[in-house]
């Protein structure tokens, strides 16, 4: 898209920031700001001097002096001899400050703050600091006891403002509301015989109507009940109430006898409801209470002020939970009082889920009969019904498949099916031949594979040009020619029909393929070695050259015939710098090869296959090899040395 919009160049681009000034090459470059011009000046143009801290601190005046540009005496000089009286007036420190000191970073910043009476709960920093300082110097350092004991009875400014606006303690805040006259309440509670208060509503409503006749009388809204949102931080569960300290510390009317096994002390202490109020002693109606009277709960119980009204007012409509927006215990089922947790309410709609459907032959009893239990359990394939021999670990995949009930995978069951018939034949032949041959033929075949066969097998195992059979034939021809040492291998195997470019491409590809896809015997021999035990018939042929050498050497060592048998000498190229450090002339100044050239590495890496055999045609194809080096991806090893040695390989090929 960006390329497509290249014609609309100026319109689509957004520029940020200020562009640099266009540089004119002819003009001399502007020098940067010199040191003596890198100064800080205040708004009046005076040089700023920073003493001590970077911000704040005193200004040093005019070149560290009190004076000014006109001189040390101020322009307006008034003699104070005549005006002594004026000097009497107190001059606070503010008189000696300049506007810088009154500024933000000065020593006496002047800003607008709230005065003390208008302060809300947060004291400002100055008073807090003053209090802290005083606290340090008081009798008990750090404690502001006196202030806390004797605190002025002050109410905050908000309260004062509300009061002036007509608010009273206990009222809610908000616009005034009308109160509806009370409706008749349904009868509740037991029937009372004798004198009782008239039902609060029926008569008083009429009277109330009379009193509160004007409809446009509004009342202050009800105060919001503060709800204490204490998080449930414990781990005990909802509704758990700990030990009631009032009961535990002996403030109850009853003496808690800890030694009485009958008493259920726990429920008493934890405030739970007690089944029996009194176990011991004589209690109840027979003692201390008249026959006609109801038994009081507890005649020695202490009253609390919450049971009594403070004001003469009618009970307000609704419950006391004004402002409470959560669920309310509307359904006051007596049986549930005390059992419902705080904040919870009885559900309006109870949903009862049906019980689960059991299978027809479900028996809730587990019968473990190893022989026959399988048949009882439904859903298990009959394959499982037979008792397993050997346990579950001796199963093979087929048995497991039957147990699980899976289907067998589709597809060929053996790798042999995937191969083409001729490959299958070849493999079988190889296997048979290996069975029949002796060790000598094995070793000979490993080191010098017959030329044509190897070419054939090589081509068959690695068919780089499988898609193009003609090309593949040409490639095989090329390989054969290579083996026979023909220098014109490439030329011969080319197709005259192809264009020049195609021919060169094919040349390259053949060279690459021939190097990469080496005949299988030496290809694999350097990767594998013969195992000590004959595990399998399908092992790969192994190059025994190395092993033979080793055995020879070991026998030589045993016979203590060191020397030629045990010694090998290689040409080794030290690094130039290394020779310099050792103060030794470089033995091979020409080559840039480092390390052992032309030696087969034992490292199992790609470099085993990238060793070019000593043959003449590679020198001629050096050009193509170089191309290839640049293109192929060498798997990166951790050591950089691998990369270095690729360089050496390349160099060696070129030289």
């Amino acid at each position: 898209n960006m390329a497509a919009d290249s014609d609309k160049e100026g319109t689509d681009f957004v520029s940020f920031g200020t562009p640099l000034e266009p540089l004119d090459e002819d003009e001399p470059l502007k020098k940067p700001v010199p040191i003596y011009e890198q100064t800080v000046k205040d708004e009046k143009g005076r040089y700023q001097r920073f003493h001590g801290a970077f911000t704040g601190g005193f200004s040093a005046g005019y070149f560290n002096t009190v004076g000014s540009k006109e001189g040390w005496s101020p322009a307006t000089f008034k003699s104070s001899r005549e005006s002594k009286a004026e000097n009497q007036k107190a001059r606070g420190p503010e008189d000696f400050m300049d506007e810088e000191d009154f500024g933000e970073h000065g020593i006496a910043p002047s800003e607008i703050t709230r005065s003390a009476e208008f302060q809300s709960g947060h004291k400002d920093a100055a008073t807090a600091k003053a209090r802290a300082v005083n606290a340090q110097s008081s009798l008990i350092p750090g404690d502001t006891l006196l202030e806390e004991i004797i605190a002025p009875a002050e109410s905050s400014i908000g309260v004062e403002l509300l009061k002036t606006m007509g608010w009273r303690e206990g009222q809610g805040i908000g616009p005034r509301v009308k109160r509806k006259p009370k409706k008749q309440r349904p009868e509740e509670g037991p029937r009372v015989y004798g004198c009782s208060r008239p039902p609060a509503g029926s008569e008083s409503s009429e009277e109330d109507d009379g009193e509160f006749a004007p409809q446009n009388v509004t009342f202050a809204p009800k105060d919001v009940t503060p709800f204490d949102f204490t998080p449930h931080l414990g781990l005990q569960g909802l509704g758990y109430r700990g030990l009631d300290p009032g009961l535990a510390l002996g403030q109850s009317a009853e003496h808690i006898n800890l030694f009485d096994p009958q008493l259920d002390i726990k429920t008493k202490l934890f405030g739970g409801k007690q089944k029996h109020t009194r176990h011991r002693g004589v209690a109840g109606q027979g003692f201390g209470v008249g026959a006609m009277e109801d038994e009081d709960e507890d005649i020695y119980q202490r009253d609390s002020m919450s049971k009594y009204d403070i004001e003469i007012k009618d009970e307000e409509p609704g419950d006391g939970l004004f402002g409470w927006t959560a669920l309310r215990n509307s359904n006051k089922d007596a049986s549930y009082i005390g059992k419902i947790l705080e904040g919870f309410t009885l559900a309006q709609k109870t949903v009862i889920f049906p019980p689960p459907r059991l299978p027809r032959d479900y028996r809730p009893v587990r019968r473990f009969n190893p022989g026959t239990f399988v048949s009882h359990v439904s859903g298990v394939s009959p394959a499982l019904a037979q008792p397993q021999t050997g346990g579950r670990h001796q199963l093979d995949s087929g048995q497991r498949r039957a147990l699980i009930g899976e289907e067998a995978l589709q597809g060929p069951s053996s790798v042999m099916d995937l191969l083409r018939p001729e490959d299958r034949e070849r493999l079988r032949n190889i296997r048979h031949s290996r069975h029949g041959s002796s060790s000598s033929s094995r070793s000979s075949s490993s080191s010098l594979p017959p030329k044509k066969e190897s070419g054939q097998t090589a081509a068959q195992t690695f068919k780089p040009f499988e898609n193009n059979p003609e090309k593949q034939e040409r490639y095989e021809q090329y390989l054969n020619c290579l083996k026979q040492g023909d220098t014109d291998a490439l030329e011969e195997s080319l197709d005259s029909e192809m264009t020049e470019w195609e021919r060169s491409r094919e040349r390259e590809e053949f060279v690459r393929a021939s190097i990469l896809y080496r005949p299988s015997s030496s290809f694999l021999s350097s990767r594998f070695t013969r195992s000590k035990q004959q595990d399998d018939d399908d092992t790969v042929e192994v190059n025994r050259d190395e092993e033979r050498d080793l055995d020879d050497k070991q026998t030589a060592v045993k016979m203590k015939m060191f020397g030629q048998l045990t010694r090998e000498t290689f040409e080794w190229h030290p690094d130039k710098v290394l020779c310099k450090r050792f103060n030794v002339p470089d033995p091979f100044p020409g080559t840039s090869v480092v390390g052992l050239p032309k030696v087969k590495r034992d490292k199992f890496s790609v470099f085993n296959f990238l060793i070019v055999p000593e043959s003449k045609e590679t020198s001629g194809n050096g050009y193509f090899c170089l191309h290839w080096w640049a293109e192929i991806q060498i798997p990166r090893d951790e050591t950089k040395h691998e990369i270095e040695s690729t360089r050496t390989r390349r160099d060696e090929i070129l030289t």
């Binding site: 060191f562 000498t569 050591t639």
Partner: protein, 314 residues
């Protein structure tokens, strides 16, 4: 005026214990004399490297900075730098006087066992490579990596123009820089220590079949074989005496064995202690031997200390 001809000295072997010191380093992994023999270094398992004076055995300086136990150390010829290698796969170059770490060379994939320092630091490592670092150039890459070994390198020595490595794959490799050749001698059992002879004609190598072999450098033939000690499991040091008269080796039975080089007979069995004698080092010129066993270092000399001042050291 001609001085009387000095009496010919008999074969000098360090047989008298001059002093023992406790290096406080835990097991001492290696003791090495410096180039002139006045000081020696002890590499401890407590990750520290200590420099001692050889005459009295006084501790001069401690160098700490390795992450794991220090396995080998060597000093430069001008005594200004020490290099040490450790199980933390790094080689550290120290400044002797200040004790500061000059350089830390990383790059080995495994534990480094041996170091040698001329102007090139060449540690050999369990990963089978010898990396030569140039001390002067400040590059962090080694100049050359010698990785022909198929198994870990256990020992390394450097002479004027040759590098000698002994590897656990049973081969002694001698890299001749002047000729540009690598000679590989196969010894079949894993090699624990190699060293050059003073005349530069032979190499001595000890291997885990409890044998020391003296090989001729040019042909690779075995000139002498020394047996009798025990070296079956541990990498222990061996060395030649300063005048190539004797072959010395540590042993797992707590002795240092000393054979006559030419005859191959056991001349001396130094009772060092009960534990395995881990390391030894011969003085470059005098007949003194340092041995390390567990946490202690001992110095042995030809003659007991009291007579040292009288004899003329030639």
């Amino acid at each position: 005026m001609s001085f009387p001809a000095p009496k010919p000295e008999g074969p000098q072997i360090p047989q008298h214990l001059l002093w023992t010191l406790d290096s406080q380093q835990g097991p001492v992994r290696a003791v090495r004399f410096n180039a002139d023999g006045n000081y020696f270094l002890s590499c401890g398992a407590d990750k520290s490297l200590k420099l001692w004076s050889a005459s009295k055995g006084t501790l001069l300086k401690t160098y700490s900075g390795h992450g794991y136990e220090v396995l080998d150390a060597d000093s430069s010829f001008d005594n200004s730098q020490i290099c040490s290698c450790s199980s933390d796969k790094s080689v550290i170059l120290w400044d002797v006087a200040s004790g500061q770490v000059t350089r830390k060379l990383r790059g080995h994939a495994g534990v480094t066992f041996c170091v040698f320092n001329v102007v090139v630091v060449t540690p050999g490592s369990i990963d089978g490579t010898v990396r030569c670092w140039d001390v002067r150039s400040r590059r962090n890459e080694p100049i050359q990596i010698l990785d022909e070994a198929r198994d870990g390198i256990s020992s390394l020595k450097v002479a004027q123009h040759e590098l000698l490595t002994g590897s656990v794959d049973g081969r002694v490799r001698r890299y001749d820089l002047r000729m540009g050749q690598l000679h590989v001698d196969f010894l079949s059992s894993p090699i624990t220590c190699v060293c050059f002879s003073a005349d530069g004609q032979c190499t001595l190598s000890s291997s885990l079949d409890s044998t020391l072999r003296l090989l001729d450098k040019s042909s690779g033939e075995m000139l002498g074989e020394y047996k009798g000690h025990t070296m079956k499991g541990y990498k222990l040091d061996c060395c030649l005496s300063s005048k190539d008269t004797h072959v010395l080796s540590c042993s797992e039975d707590g002795h240092v064995y000393c054979w006559d080089l030419v005859e191959g007979s056991l001349s001396l069995k130094l009772p060092v202690g009960k534990a395995v004698v881990q390391s030894l080092s011969f003085h470059p010129s005098e007949c003194r031997l340092l041995t390390a066993m567990e946490g202690r270092v001992q110095l042995w000399a030809n003659e007991p200390e009291t007579e040292e001042t009288d004899t003329l050291v030639l």
